[in-house]
C-alpha cells in the first residue's frame, strides 16, 4: 500500500495541496474512528472519498470543518493550520469553503431565496437588487427554475432540496466545496444530472471538490481521484483504474462486487 500511495503522491507532488490533513486521530470514548490518518486534496480536483458505512468518512469531513474535535494531528486548508487561526481569520477562511450537508440542511423557516441570501447578507454589503440577481443566478446555475425562489424547503422534493442547498453552499463563490453523499436519495437520472452539474460547476467556478460518496457511477464519471478509508486510515488513493487494481479485500469487494460489475458492464 505504502509504495503505491507514495508513487501517486510523487506524481502529484508539484500540485498545490489545498487541504492537507496530517496524522489525525479522532475518537469517541475509547473507540478510535480515525487512526493517524493522512490525506491531501489538490487544487482544482474532484476527490471522491469512499469507505465503509460508519467507517468515519463523515467524521473526517466534520473534523476538517471543525465540527468534531480531534485528539491530535493537524488540518491545513489554503496552507493555514486551522488550530493557529484567530476567530477573525477562521471566519474569513470559512467564507472560502461551502458545504452541502447530506439532508441539505436548508433553514426550514426561510424561503430558498432567503436561504441563499443568508450568507451574503451576513458577509457582504450588497444592494437588494444585486442580492436578488445573485440568488436567481445561483438558482439557475444549479438547474432549478426561478419560481422555487419563493418556496419554503418543506415545499420542495428531495432532489430540489439538494440543488437548493448546493446553491446556498455556492452563495459566496467558495474555492472548496464539501459534498456529503450528494447523490444519495436521488433517482439514477437525477443522480447522473447532479454529477454532471458538479462537473460543470467545478469547471465554471474553478472549484476544488471534496465528495464523500457511495455512488459508483459518480466515482466513475466525475471524480478525478479517489481516496478509500478503512480501519481509520486512507488505505489507497488514486484514479479509478488504480482503485480497480488494488488488492485490499475491502477494495476488491467494493470495486468488483455485483453492483460494481453492473456499473462497468453498463459503461462498456
Amino acid at each position: 500500500m505504502d509504495a503505491r500511495t507514495s508513487t501517486t503522491a510523487e506524481a502529484t507532488n508539484h500540485r498545490e495541496a489545498i487541504i492537507s490533513v496530517h496524522d489525525i486521530v479522532v475518537g469517541f470514548g475509547d473507540r478510535v474512528i480515525l487512526n493517524h490518518l493522512d490525506l491531501d486534496v489538490y487544487r482544482g480536483e474532484i476527490l471522491g472519498f469512499v469507505g465503509t458505512s460508519g467507517g468515519g468518512k463523515s467524521v473526517l469531513t466534520r473534523t476538517i470543518l471543525g465540527l468534531v474535535p480531534k485528539q491530535s494531528g493537524t488540518v491545513e486548508v489554503f496552507g493555514q493550520n486551522l488550530d493557529d487561526l484567530s476567530e477573525r481569520e477562521r471566519s474569513a477562511l470559512e467564507r472560502r469553503w461551502g458545504v452541502l450537508f447530506q439532508q441539505g440542511a436548508l433553514f426550514s423557516s426561510l424561503t430558498v431565496k432567503q436561504n441563499i441570501q443568508f450568507p451574503l447578507r451576513e458577509n457582504l454589503q450588497l444592494s437588494q437588487r444585486l442580492l436578488d440577481e445573485i440568488a436567481y443566478t445561483k438558482i439557475e446555475m444549479v438547474g432549478l427554475k426561478c419560481d422555487v425562489a419563493e418556496k419554503l424547503p418543506s415545499e420542495l422534493s428531495g432532489g430540489m432540496i439538494k440543488r437548493a442547498a448546493l446553491a446556498r453552499s455556492l452563495a459566496l463563490d467558495p474555492e472548496i466545496l464539501f459534498l456529503d453523499e450528494p447523490t444519495s436519495g436521488l433517482d439514477p437520472i437525477g443522480a447522473g444530472e447532479f454529477d454532471e452539474l458538479i462537473r460543470t460547476l467545478q469547471q465554471t467556478l474553478g472549484l476544488t471538490v471534496f465528495m464523500v460518496t457511495h455512488d459508483l457511477d459518480s466515482l466513475h464519471t466525475v471524480c478525478d481521484r479517489i481516496a478509500a478509508l478503512a480501519d481509520g486510515k486512507v488505505i489507497a488513493q488514486g484514479t479509478i483504474e488504480d482503485m480497480m487494481a488494488e488488492q485490499h479485500p475491502w477494495l476488491r469487494a467494493y470495486f468488483h462486487g455485483t453492483r460494481a460489475r453492473a456499473v462497468q458492464a453498463a459503461r462498456r
Partner: protein, 375 residues
C-alpha cells in the same frame, strides 16, 4: 469618475472604451455595482462600445453577473458591446452568465394584511375547536378499542411515560408547591395579624390549597413540562415520517402514541396533586410555626377542624379531567406539526398556551358545579 479602481471609461466621438481593472469579486461587488450602474447611466446612448477586461485580475460570479448587467444595458439600446482581453479561465463563467436571467422572477411571497389575518384566525379558531372535539372522539374510541382488547394495550409504553411525567416531575413539583405554601402562609399571617386573626391562616391555606391551588399549580406545571414534551416528541416524529410509518404498518397512531401518554398523565396528575398539596401544607405549617408562632400541634388541630373530606375531594376530582385536557391538547398539536422547525415551535407554544387556558376555564366551570351541589 469615481470607482476608477474598478472601471475606467474613455469616450471619443460617442465611441466608448470601457476598461475593467482589479478584482471583480464578491468583496468589491458593492463598489462594482455602483461603478457599473454609473457607467451605464452616464453613457446611456453610445454608438459603439468596447469592453476591455485584460486588466481584471480576478473574477467570480458576482463580477461576471455585473459584467453581464453592463453588457445588457447597452444591448437594450441596440448597441452590441465588443469584449476583448477576457482571460481564458473566465470564459466558461462569462458564457454561463450570458444564459442566465432570461426567466421572469416569481412574485414575492405575500404577507397577509391585518383584516385578512383576523379573518383567517377567526376561521382557524372554529376549525381548532372542531379538530379538538374530533380528537377527543378519536382518543375515546381508541381507549374503547383498548378496553375491548386489553392485550393490545401498550403497558410498557405507559409505564415509561408514567416514569417521565410522574416520577421525574416529583422533585420540581414538591419544591414549587412547598414555596407557594410558604408564601401563602406568610402573606396570610402578615395580613390577618392586623385583625388578631392569625390562626385563620390555617383555614385559608387548607381550603385554598386543597380545593384550588394545589391542583391548578400542578396542572400548569405539567402543561409546561410534560405537555410541551409530548407536542415536541410527536411533532418531530411527524416531521420524520414516523407517524406515517406506523399508519402504513396498520397501527392507529392515536392508539399507539396517544393513549399511553394520555393514560399516564391521567394517572400521574392526581398523584402529583396529592404530593403537591401535602408539600404546600408542609410549607405553610413550617412558616406558621417559625413566622407566626403557631406550633405544629395547634396547626394540625386547627386544620382538622377547618377542612373536611369534601375539600380534599374537590381538588382530587378535578385532577384527572385537567390531565386529559392537557394530554389531548398536547398530542393533537404534536400531530398537526408540519415540515419545518418553525412549525414545531409554533405548535409547542400553542400546546402550552391552549392547555393552560383550558385548564383555567375548566377550573372555573368546576367551581360553579361544586357550588351548585354544595360541595
Amino acid at each position: 469618475m469615481p470607482h476608477a479602481s474598478l472601471i475606467s471609461v474613455h469616450s471619443q466621438d460617442d465611441r466608448l472604451t470601457v476598461a475593467g481593472r482589479g478584482a471583480w469579486t464578491s468583496e468589491y461587488a458593492d463598489e462594482l455595482e455602483q461603478a457599473v450602474d454609473d457607467t451605464a447611466h452616464t453613457y446611456a446612448h453610445p454608438k459603439g462600445v468596447e469592453i476591455d477586461l485584460s486588466a481584471v485580475e480576478r473574477m467570480d460570479t458576482f463580477g461576471a453577473l455585473l459584467f453581464e448587467r453592463l453588457k445588457r444595458s447597452w444591448k437594450g439600446t441596440g448597441v452590441e458591446p465588443q469584449v476583448k482581453g477576457l482571460a481564458p479561465r473566465y470564459k466558461v463563467l462569462i458564457e454561463e452568465m450570458g444564459r442566465m436571467g432570461q426567466e421572469q422572477p416569481p412574485p414575492a411571497r405575500r404577507h397577509e394584511a391585518i383584516l385578512e389575518r383576523f379573518g383567517h384566525e377567526t376561521v382557524n379558531v372554529a376549525a381548532d375547536a372542531g379538530a379538538l372535539l374530533n380528537f377527543v372522539g378519536a382518543s375515546v374510541a381508541a381507549m374503547g378499542r383498548v378496553l375491548l382488547r386489553p392485550r393490545s394495550f401498550r403497558f410498557t409504553a405507559m409505564v415509561n411515560q408514567l416514569d417521565r411525567v410522574g416520577l421525574r416531575a416529583v422533585p420540581i413539583i414538591i419544591l414549587i408547591t412547598f414555596l407557594i405554601g410558604c408564601i401563602l402562609a406568610q402573606q396570610g399571617i402578615f395580613n390577618f395579624r392586623r385583625f388578631g386573626a392569625d390562626i385563620y391562616v390555617v383555614d385559608m391555606v387548607g381550603v385554598l390549597v386543597l380545593r384550588e391551588l394545589g391542583v391548578l399549580i400542578v396542572a400548569i406545571m405539567i402543561a409546561g413540562r410534560s405537555g410541551s414534551a409530548y407536542t415536541a416528541e410527536l411533532g418531530s416524529m411527524r416531521m420524520r415520517e414516523e407517524v406515517d410509518a406506523l399508519r402504513v404498518m396498520g397501527f392507529d397512531p392515536v392508539e399507539v402514541l396517544v393513549v399511553p401518554r394520555l393514560l399516564a398523565l391521567i394517572i400521574a396528575l392526581p398523584l402529583l396533586t396529592f404530593i403537591g398539596s401535602m408539600s404546600s401544607l408542609l410549607g405553610a405549617g413550617l412558616v406558621s410555626w417559625g413566622y407566626g408562632g403557631i406550633t405544629p400541634d395547634v396547626f394540625l388541630d386547627r386544620l382538622k377542624g377547618a377542612i373536611d373530606m369534601d375539600q380534599f375531594n374537590v381538588g382530587m376530582i378535578k385532577a384527572p379531567f385537567m390531565a386529559a385536557t392537557i394530554g389531548i391538547v398536547a398530542c393533537l398539536e404534536g400531530l398537526r406539526v408540519g415540515g419545518s422547525a418553525e412549525s414545531l415551535g409554533a405548535h409547542t407554544t400553542a400546546s402550552v398556551v391552549k392547555a393552560i387556558f383550558l385548564v383555567i376555564v375548566m377550573d372555573g366551570v368546576f367551581a360553579m358545579f361544586f357550588a351548585a351541589i354544595d360541595m
